[in-house]
Assembly symmetry: C2
Homo-oligomer: 401 residues x 2
């Protein structure tokens, strides 16, 4: 057993559910904060818990390079390494290989690339990407895919999709043969009892989860071609995964195209499995895609924007660097109950940002994550009330973005 997914309420295409992982439950639709190097930049794990984060995303590519998969594996896997008792998802590394490496070389076998850190040469294949993700030990891991560039010629899109399908088969094969190598039950004791949350959630210590394994999700590609997306979905489902992601979007295409592809692709995905839209989006987009039936999303936007002083509030976006906030004693967002809005003024946050103080990054990130998580809570609440298409505009008026 790897994960369980229960849909508890529906409203139109949208669903509210509960994803049970080896490291706790995740209420869906869920936004997953990005912790690239096993850290959501600037935010301690205990604050993420306080914010109600139930699942984090970490990047295989970055962790593969630093501190290295073997190091994390020896330390008991990501959960133990970063002292995070709740769920984790890792991407396959494919997207970063494509986006961070101009000198990559793709073959049937896999991808040769150079480290963005030191230029050293590396090779990732479906097999080695699975090996890496098994070693890191996230609860949900992703098939190794090729993220098709945009724009691309039709033949190129098909060839890329076919390659991703062959890699999906190889990913699944390797995973099935090696899934018991996940580091969770190799560790005799969890030295940092942390919050005791694991035990509380699962009724038993982590080391008792030996019957549980990771869940490998497949990824649908097919560029901006609706027919190819349908074919990719059907053939990926044929291979068979406990969850399905929509990849290859947010790669430069217009927003309405993204929406069209998501809406069409979702219809070809099995209703009873979690659907993960990768790399999305703004507050308004995560609401919109939840409304289309997406269950999981991730994006660097709330954390990256925070580091650049762009803050999401119920009254719209705020660029905190602006001089107009220098004397503004009001909280960042009067409708937000996060520890930043409860305590600090816009004037102080503006001062921290303008003075290049590290605390600016810490506080801004906490608020933006809080806003995203609150938005998702509002979405789930609306779905659970069965408010079909109406819920969107209600959440809208809150997100107003």
């Amino acid at each position: 057993m790897s994960i369980e997914f229960l849909i508890e309420a529906r409203a139109g295409a949208a669903r509210a559910g509960r994803l049970t992982t080896p490291h706790g439950e995740v209420e869906t639709p869920v936004f997953m904060p990005v912790g690239t190097l096993a850290s959501v930049k600037g935010v301690p794990q205990e604050v993420l818990e306080e914010l109600g984060v139930e699942i984090l995303l970490a990047n295989t590519y970055h962790l593969y390079l630093r501190p290295g998969v073997e190091q994390v594996r020896k330390l008991g896997g990501l959960h133990r390494f970063m002292s995070w008792p709740r769920a984790i998802l890792t991407d396959s590394g494919g997207f970063q290989v494509f986006s961070l490496n101009d000198l990559r070389k793709v073959s049937e076998e896999g991808v040769t690339f150079r480290s963005h850190l030191d230029g050293s040469s590396h090779f990732l294949s479906p097999e080695s990407a699975m090996q890496a993700q098994i070693g890191l030990g996230a609860d949900i891991i992703m098939a190794f895919d090729e993220c098709t560039e945009y724009p691309a010629e039709p033949e190129r899109v098909r060839a890329s999709m076919e390659l991703t399908l062959r890699w999906a088969e190889r990913s699944k094969k390797y995973f099935e043969e090696h899934k018991n190598e996940v580091p969770w039950n190799k560790v005799s004791s969890f030295q940092f009892p942390v919050s005791g949350e694991l035990e509380a959630r699962n009724g038993k210590p982590e080391t008792g989860n030996s019957e549980r394994t990771q869940a490998l999700f497949g990824i649908v590609q097919g560029g901006m071609d609706l027919a190819l997306r349908k074919e990719s979905a059907e053939r990926t489902i044929e291979i068979g995964f406990p969850g399905y992601a929509i990849g290859g979007l947010s790669v430069g295409e217009p927003r309405h195209v993204t929406r069209e592809i998501v809406e069409a692709t979702v219809q070809h995905l099995p209703a009873e499995r979690p659907r993960y839209l990768m790399g999305v989006g703004t507050p308004e987009e995560i609401v919109e895609y939840a409304n289309l039936g997406i269950d999981m999303m991730d994006c660097v936007l709330p954390t990256r924007a925070a580091r650049h002083g762009l803050l999401f509030t119920s009254e719209g976006r705020i660029s905190i660097k602006q001089a107009q906030y220098a004397g503004d004693e009001s909280p960042l967002d009067p409708n937000c109950g996060c520890r930043v809005c409860r305590r600090y003024s816009r004037a102080y946050l503006r001062h921290l940002y303008a003075s290049n103080e590290v605390l600016a990054q810490v506080l801004n990130t906490i608020h933006n994550l809080s806003f995203y998580l609150d938005t998702m809570r509002a979405v789930r609440h609306s779905i659970s009330l069965g408010r079909g298409a109406r819920f969107l505009s209600e959440v809208w008026s809150r997100a107003k973005l």
Copy 2:
């Protein structure tokens, strides 16, 4: 009324006391973390409260340049600006003017200097330094002094000491005439109720403290000359302040000289007034100086060292960047109960540091401050038990540094 100081226990020259300020009580001997720009770099105020910080130091020079004194004053002063309900001390700006400005020009009137930010020209005098510190509204403010460089010729040391004495008179005169301009009671309401701590401590809201004023401390100079230190102490006491600082140390002189000057100077300071040793020191030094009868200290060392990966532990100093910690699952300090040591491993802290993650700075700073505050708590406890010279070696075995 500005401050009250009660000595509750003595052990040899050492004293344990209670300093009551307009923003709460401070147990002494106390180590004051440095929050240069109204932020202890990387650490939210709620975490400082959790650590037991009762008084912070902020730098007038930096705040004068950014965001500017008038801005802070209009926002109700530093406490309200940074949402810190406990005590604050500001330095006079003099030390930074001397240490950060090669092009400064000292006259009888004051110091002309250029901003290290934009090269703009500024002038600080005893009067303007008082005006700035009254506007910032710390509980304890410092007379404007000249920090004599080291080494210096005897005539230069005397001339500098005499200047500091004249400036002390002018500082006191300006302060006495303007002390009611402190911004605390200009603010009709405290918009961020924060932790309710102020009310809890003082039995009344901040706005009710209108009868309280800041406390201006005098500063003893005199270089490394014991006779001049004695004269400086006596003549500063003659001017009359509610507390006295020893300045002009930790400017490059050998450690044994610092110790000798402190030990000799303390004997000339009134027993019933708080004694503040500026800019000191290592964990071993703060224990040593507390033992000599010092009540207050501040230093950037724990916070700055943290940012460079140098961590203080009960088992000695740790440079967390070292490869030997990459696989070390033990907590940073097995004898420390801070939130970092309770949750994270050395391996994870090493990874964060090596990966240049902002969380490294956040967690390292929290731990180092925790270590300093724990050390001071141990010192106070020893004094309260009346353990004269013996307490030092006992705390020693804990600090082992």
